[in-house]
């Protein structure tokens, strides 16, 4: 393994923070979904690194699951966003506070 | 583990001795409720007749029970025991003893006369009587139940219709009063539930059966000392124990007449009865420990209610405060830890129930005619409606403790019993007799005496039929005033064995 495990984790952590930042600050539902995707991918990178580090296949398997979940999440999420857009006419998350 | 053997002994079986009169009372209420619900809204007259019929049936059943109760045998009679949730030890367990029997009779009388008092009602008749039946169902259930869980359930069943009854059909500041009353009483209920669970868990018997839980040694002294105040305050709120009484004048004043009757006449007794049946039965040592505090609160409540009532200008407020004062006498009797005290307290529960019901019924009649209960606006009614005034004055006299009317005996016996234990507190309470005479007479003077008020000159007096409820109540007041032994004999069948069984 050329790249040290620590660097992989650092990359994953930075990606995750970027995702968090995107999710928390952007005033657009689509960008929030994107942020979530980024966080998922960060987790996937960490898993791949860990699988390599410990020579175990479970990490790889988890990544497959994560990709599947990410795909479904995007599709469901986008569907919800479209619905929300139809209802409120905007992508602003503060307009979706019916549950308060 | 000793609990195992006892669990065996408490095997849940159906145990019904003879005809289930107690269930019959409850079923009559339920049936009445259903019939009222099934009748169409517009047939007001029929709804009233049905209500009168069913409530009259319960009254007859109560009267029958009162006289059929075997006084020589005493103890629990008319027992009905059916397992309900065996895994938790909940039983449908009904029985009466000398403590609950007077209250049962009282409920029957007030229920029936309350229906008759509301005969003039025109607005949402169906809903009114349905809720009224529901409330009384809870009251009956509580008085006959010997299962802690059911007592709690019945307690809440009797309370929640009250909110609607006051908020919909009430008069003075009704929403406020309904909310205040409901919150107050459910606060009490919130104290009862933890207390109940606490006892249930610590008994280790896996039962809610009061007869099993009250066996000496079930709870340690420390547990009793802890649980007693929970029940005392929880039920005491409903009994108008000072300083948790402020719901009572407001609630009484706002409620429609028959609800005031049931409320002051019976629901406050539920509180006192709950203190007796649950707090005192289950935690006798806690009772002895806290009795001094109880006596203090009661004595102070007696004088406080009388003095605070002196300044009220609303007829119903006056009665509400007098109720606080009179229920203090019940509390004082309960706090003496003696046979006489219990006798007097239970007698006073009964007598006060009848007396307040009569007062509210009379006020209801007057209010229906004059559309006011401000004392300042009334006056001179004695000339216009002598008979209606007579009933009020009679009840006011009873409230002052005139001999020959039932309240006198309750007060006398309680004061005698209390004087032996708490002389100073009793003297303070006795001063209230003067004050209550002053304020009752003041009300009578300002409302009924004086030159006739020309505004009410054309009002008619009580007709014979509309006077029936008050006639019944006044008759009962006189009967037990002249022949108190009728009631005392019944109460003693419970109080003497109970006090003898107490660990000293």
């Amino acid at each position: 393994m050329i790249v040290p495990f620590g660097h992989v984790l650092m990359l994953a952590g930075m990606l995750f923070l970027l995702g968090v930042f995107c999710t928390l600050t952007r005033r657009n539902l689509v960008m929030i979904i994107l942020g979530v995707e980024v966080m998922l991918n960060a987790a996937a990178i960490a898993f791949v690194g860990a699988a390599l580090h410990w020579q175990s296949l479970e990490g790889q398997a988890f990544v497959l699951f994560i990709m599947a979940i990410a795909a479904t999440e995007v599709s469901v999420g986008l569907a919800l966003i479209v619905y929300a857009y139809r209802r409120s006419g905007s992508f602003d998350p503060s307009s979706c506070n019916l549950l308060r | 583990m000793p609990g195992v053997e006892i669990k065996g002994a408490l095997s849940m079986q159906i145990e019904i001795a003879g005809f289930p009169y107690l269930s019959a009372i409850l079923i009559t209420c339920v049936t009445g409720l259903l019939v009222i619900l099934l009748l169409p809204e517009e047939r007001k007259g029929e709804i009233k007749w049905v209500s009168a019929g069913f409530s009259g049936t319960t009254l007859l059943l109560c009267v029958y029970l009162f006289f059929a109760y075997d006084k020589t045998r005493g103890g629990l009679q008319f027992v009905e025991k059916v397992p309900w949730v065996p895994s938790l030890g909940i039983q449908y367990f009904n029985a009466v003893d000398g403590f609950s029997l007077p209250n049962l009779l009282l409920t029957g009388i007030v229920f029936f006369t309350g229906v008759l008092t509301m005969w003039q009602l025109q607005e949402r008749v169906k809903e009114f009587f349905a809720l009224y039946f529901l409330m009384v169902l809870g009251v009956f259930g509580l008085f006959v139940s010997m299962d802690l869980f059911f007592i709690f359930v019945w307690y809440d069943v009797s309370l929640f219709p009250m909110y609607l009854l006051i908020a919909v059909w009430g008069t003075t500041r009704k929403e406020y009063a309904a909310m205040k009353l409901t919150l107050y009483l459910f606060a009490g209920s919130a104290l009862l539930l933890p207390g109940m669970i606490y006892l249930y868990v610590h008994s280790g018997l896996n039962t809610f059966d009061i007869t099993a839980l009250m066996q000496p040694g079930t709870f340690t002294t420390a547990q009793q000392k802890f649980a007693f105040p929970l029940f005392y305050v929880g039920f005491g709120i409903l009994a108008g124990v000072w300083p948790f009484h402020t719901w009572s004048p407001v609630g009484h004043a706002a409620a429609p007449h028959s609800v005031s009757m049931v409320h002051a006449g019976v629901l406050m007794k539920i509180g006192a009865f709950g203190v007796l049946r649950v707090a005192i039965f289950l935690c006798p040592e806690g009772w002895q420990y806290w009795s001094g505090v109880m006596a203090f609160l009661a004595a102070f409540g007696i004088i406080y209610g009388a003095l605070a009532g002196l300044r009220q200008t609303d007829l119903k407020y006056v009665i509400g405060y007098s109720s606080v004062s009179h229920m203090g006498i019940v509390g004082l009797g309960l706090s003496t830890v003696s046979v006489e005290g219990l006798n007097g307290a239970v007698f006073q529960m009964f007598a006060h129930g009848i007396m307040t019901a009569l007062l509210f019924s009379a006020v209801g009649h007057i209010y229906d005619r004059t559309h006011t209960k401000e004392i300042g606006e009334l006056g001179g009614l004695s000339r216009v409606m002598p008979v209606a005034s007579f009933y009020f004055i009679l009840a006011a006299l009873a409230g002052m403790g005139i001999p020959g009317l039932a309240c006198f005996w309750g007060e006398l016996v309680v004061f005698i019993a209390a004087f032996k234990v708490y002389p100073v507190r009793t003297v303070v309470a006795l001063l209230a007799l003067v004050v209550s005479a002053l304020f009752m007479l003041r009300v009578v003077q300002r409302t009924f005496y004086g030159p006739p008020n020309e505004r009410y000159a054309q009002l008619s007096d009580v007709s014979f039929s509309s006077g029936i409820p008050r006639m019944i109540l006044a008759g009962v007041l006189l009967l037990f005033g002249l022949y108190p032994a009728l009631l005392f004999d019944v109460i003693e069948t419970a109080s003497i064995p109970f006090m003898n069984g107490l660990p000293r």
Binding site: V20, T23, L24, T25, I32, P93, S94, C96, N97, L98, L99, R100 | K180, Y184, P243, T246, P249, Y304, L307, A308, L310, R311, Q312, V339, E340, N343, G380, S382, M400, G401, I402, P403, G404, F408, W409, L412, V413, F415, I416, F419, T426, L430, L431, L433, V434, A437, L438, L441, Q445, F448, Y449, G450, P451, P452, P484, A485, F488, E492, S495, I496
Partner: protein, 643 residues
């Protein structure tokens, strides 16, 4: 279990005597309110039966020395039995006869007096109620039973004072009477409970036997005696609870004659006589009773000296005479007190009934108006009035003279001469105020010429006819009572024999000593009469009494020594605006305030929490992220041993 099951003929008679008025009361209330004559007939019949029975009993038991007691269980409680019974002994029989006789006479008198009143039936119902309660009170065998009827008597007094309930002053007076006597009754009840706790069942005979001294420590006994005396103070309108009685004159005059002079207020003194041996166990208490009796007597006499209302004068005089009886009893003169009670009942009822005739004719209570109106032309009432006033003043042939002498003799034996001096002063004042009224009535300023007609339109025009119509019912009771007043004094010997028997230990032997006493007393009363005549009676008199010349005294006396001001202040300021307001405010502000503060706090807290729930997804994410970070930091440091 039936409370009324006659044991023998005497018991039967007793039950009949007490119960018939109750039956009459119930019948009138339930059925015959609309039919006036029937109501009156029922009531009169009942009281006549009662009176007959009491005479029968008196005759049967005249020579029976041992008290008879009939008693059945009424209420039985665990350790407390409340019996219902009758105790027949000389004092109760004597009192029973007085009560029923005066009830009967007053009811006959009322036929005329109350005629035409819209509440005629109600009046007779209440009268019957009173007759029942009073006869039962007199015959009660236990103190508790006595207390019960004591309260009922108070109730009927309240109802009868406020009989004309449309008059504000009448209802006010009724209320005042009830509340003030109630204050005394509470004290009575406390004393009763004290006795009950120590002795057990407070049967009167048991209390009076000397055992009760053994059962109660002497301190407690004195205390109980004083508390029970509190009831007497309330009922007999003694100092300091005396001011209700003059106000009670708002009731119809026959009521005043019956309840508020002859019988009901005398119940207090009767109770004293009833429990005399018990009270006598505590000399301290007796000393205090003597003091209170004396104070009441002097105060009330001074008030009577300036009153202008004829009924009020007699009311003050009643208080003062009751005080006099209590003095006599407290000084140990058992017979003297009871004898004065007997004679007083006769002549005081007579005084009121005579005044009633005047009031009924001229519709005013003011003595000066009555005098001007020509009161002296009503011959029989005037003669009766003179007889009664003579008895009140203690002039020789009349009954009051004898009983007063007996009391003074008892006082002469008491510990300190000051009591005797006070008693003699009382005799003088009594004679003075009694004859002051008499002189004002009989010698109006224009006594020279016959008043030609009603003065100032006071008297109704058809005076003659009105008087004719009701004269018989008015006159006969007066005549009977006047004869009684004349003759009763000469029965002192037999009565003494009847009450005391031969050589009872209770009797203070007032035989030979103080031979000067009767003469002094007589001289003083004559002096009082003379002073009254000099000021009001003789031609060209100033018609101004010596007290009225001193403004301070006049104010003091006519304002009842400021007792009413004190009570007014007490009720108004301390009870009403003090405690009551405090408690009502406490309810509103403190209790409800805190309850509302709690509910408002709950609402505010809920609102605050609701504000947090903005519904923004990103806030939630932020919070969960922050929590995750903090948790991970926590676990990280915990595992590395940082915490």
């Amino acid at each position: 279990m039936i409370p009324f099951q006659a044991e023998d003929a005497i018991h039967m008679t007793v039950i009949l005597a007490t119960l018939t008025p109750l039956v009459a009361f119930l019948l009138i209330m339930l059925g015959t309110r609309a039919r006036k004559n029937l109501s009156a007939g029922l009531s009169l019949g009942a009281i006549a039966i009662s009176f007959g029975c009491s005479l029968l009993l008196l005759a049967r038991l005249w020579n029976v020395r041992e008290p008879l007691e009939y008693s059945t269980r009424w209420v039985a409680l665990n350790r407390m039995e409340i019996p219902f019974g009758f105790l027949l002994d000389p004092v109760s029989l004597l009192m029973l006869s007085i009560v029923t006789l005066i009830c009967l006479l007053v009811q006959v008198y009322s036929l005329g007096y109350m005629a035409g009143d819209p509440g005629f039936s109600r009046y007779y119902a209440f009268m019957s109620l009173f007759a029942w309660a009073m006869t039962s009170l007199v015959l009660s065998s236990s103190l508790l039973q006595l207390f019960i009827f004591w309260e009922l008597v108070g109730l009927s007094s309240y109802l009868l004072i406020g009989f004309w309930y449309e008059k504000f002053s009448a209802t006010q007076a009724g209320k005042k009477a009830f509340v003030m006597t109630r204050a005394g009754d509470v004290s009575f009840l406390l004393g009763l409970i004290l006795v009950l706790v120590h002795v057990g069942n407070p049967a009167i005979l048991e209390m009076n036997s000397l055992d009760s001294a053994g059962l109660m420590p002497s301190g407690i006994l004195t205390f109980a005696a004083l508390l029970i005396f509190g009831g007497i103070v309330g009922k007999s309108a003694q100092f300091p609870l005396m001011t209700w009685l003059p106000d009670a004159m708002e009731g119809p005059t026959p009521v005043s004659a019956l309840l508020h002079s002859a019988t009901m207020v005398a119940a207090g003194v009767y109770l004293f006589a009833r429990l005399f041996p018990f009270f006598a166990l505590s000399p301290t208490a007796m000393g205090i009773f003597l003091f209170i009796g004396t104070v009441s007597m002097i105060l009330a006499s001074t008030m009577a000296m300036v009153a202008r209302d004829i009924k009020q004068v007699w009311a003050y005089s009643t208080i003062s005479q009751l005080g006099f009886m209590i003095m006599g009893l407290a000084a140990g003169g058992y017979f003297a007190g009871v004898f004065h009670l007997t004679t007083h009942a006769g002549f005081k009822a007579l005084l009121f009934l005579c005044s009633g005739v005047f009031i009924h004719t001229w519709h005013t209570n003011d003595i000066f108006e009555l005098g001007k109106g020509g009161a002296r032309r009503l011959k029989i009432p005037v003669i009766a009035l003179v007889v009664a006033a003579g008895a009140l003043a203690g002039l020789p042939p009349f009954s009051g003279f004898f009983s007063k002498e007996a009391i003074l003799a008892a006082l002469a034996l008491s510990s300190h001469p000051v009591w005797l001096a006070a008693g003699l002063l009382g005799v003088f004042l009594t004679a003075y105020y009694a004859f002051r009224v008499l002189c004002i009535l009989l010698f109006p300023p224009s006594a020279g010429e016959e008043p030609s007609g009603p003065v100032g339109g006071l008297a109704p025009a058809p005076k003659g006819s009105r008087q004719e119509g009701s004269s018989r019912t008015f006159i006969w009771p007066l005549i009977i009572l006047a004869f009684l007043t004349l003759l009763l004094g000469f029965f002192q010997g037999p009565l003494q024999h009847f009450l005391l028997g031969e050589g009872k230990a209770l009797l203070v032997d007032h035989g030979e000593q103080a031979g000067w006493l009767p003469f002094t007393a007589l001289f003083l009363s004559l002096a009082g009469v003379g002073l009254a005549w000099a000021e009001f009676g003789r031609c060209g008199a100033a018609r101004l009494s010596f007290v009225e010349r001193i403004p301070f005294l006049r104010e003091l006396f006519s304002r009842r020594w400021y007792l009413d001001h004190f009570y007014h202040f007490f009720v108004d300021r301390i009870v009403d605006r003090g405690f009551s307001k405090l408690f009502a405010q406490n309810d509103n502000r403190v209790i409800d305030g805190s309850i509302e503060a709690v509910s408002r706090g709950t609402l505010e807290a809920g609102r605050f929490l609701a504000f947090l729930q903005s519904g923004m997804i990103q806030y939630r994410l932020l919070v969960s992220f922050a929590v995750m970070v903090l948790l991970s930091l926590y676990f990280f440091y915990r595992d590395s041993g940082g915490f």
